[in-house]
Symmetry: C2
Subunit: 120 residues, 2 copies
């Protein structure tokens, strides 16, 4: 039987910030959830687009040509190669969809960079 996943239950189990967890797979793509708050490292993904949908809070993406801000019920796709510095002033819950091949912070390595993504 196919598993029905209540995202709020999964978020309840997430205790770390900026650490995407895999909740499903679609072919070679991952459906991830992530809790964010504060500032993250500016980075880009050379070969992968990245989809974000806000479930709770507010998610800001500082780009070369300005900042976009996503509230609950809003989505955006960051195209490959577009540098973005994510941040959130309050605890924010995101649904993310991206290739399973993607690296967390692109070619930038920081102390927040994950080598792999955990399933939850």
């Amino acid at each position: 039987m196919i598993q029905v996943i209540k995202l709020a239950d999964k978020f309840d189990r997430v205790t770390d910030l900026w650490s995407p967890k895999i909740v499903g797979r679609v072919d070679d793509y991952d459906v991830k959830i992530v809790k964010v708050e504060g500032e993250f490292v500016r980075h880009d993904h050379k070969d992968e687009d990245e989809f974000f949908y806000v479930l709770k809070g507010r998610f800001d993406l500082e780009l070369d040509d300005g900042t976009v801000s996503l509230g609950p019920g809003e989505m955006a796709v960051v195209p490959r190669g577009v540098a973005h510095k994510p941040s959130a002033t309050t605890e924010t819950w995101l649904l993310v969809l991206e290739s399973s091949k993607i690296k967390h912070t692109g070619d930038v390595m920081t102390d927040k960079t994950l080598a792999r993504f955990e399933e939850i």
Copy 2:
């Protein structure tokens, strides 16, 4: 600048049922929204997994081994090759993610089958 899309605004423009509209692209995958109500045709997709997330209403998937029911905030992935008959007893809003190559009703052709998906 990256476009921020409020899904509710897009749904307001959808007037037909069971007719997914493309709201974004992630590499070779489509992010779609679809309004559903009533019963749809049983079908499968031989080579593609299919992700569903319920924004409003309730979405039922009748499978060979039973029926799963998704409410708001719940998601499921229908794996490739798994026959499913979607239905909804009330107007239901879905976010869908799947390969751009996918055919609407797999190899089943009905009067509801779309040859291509419109962008909205």
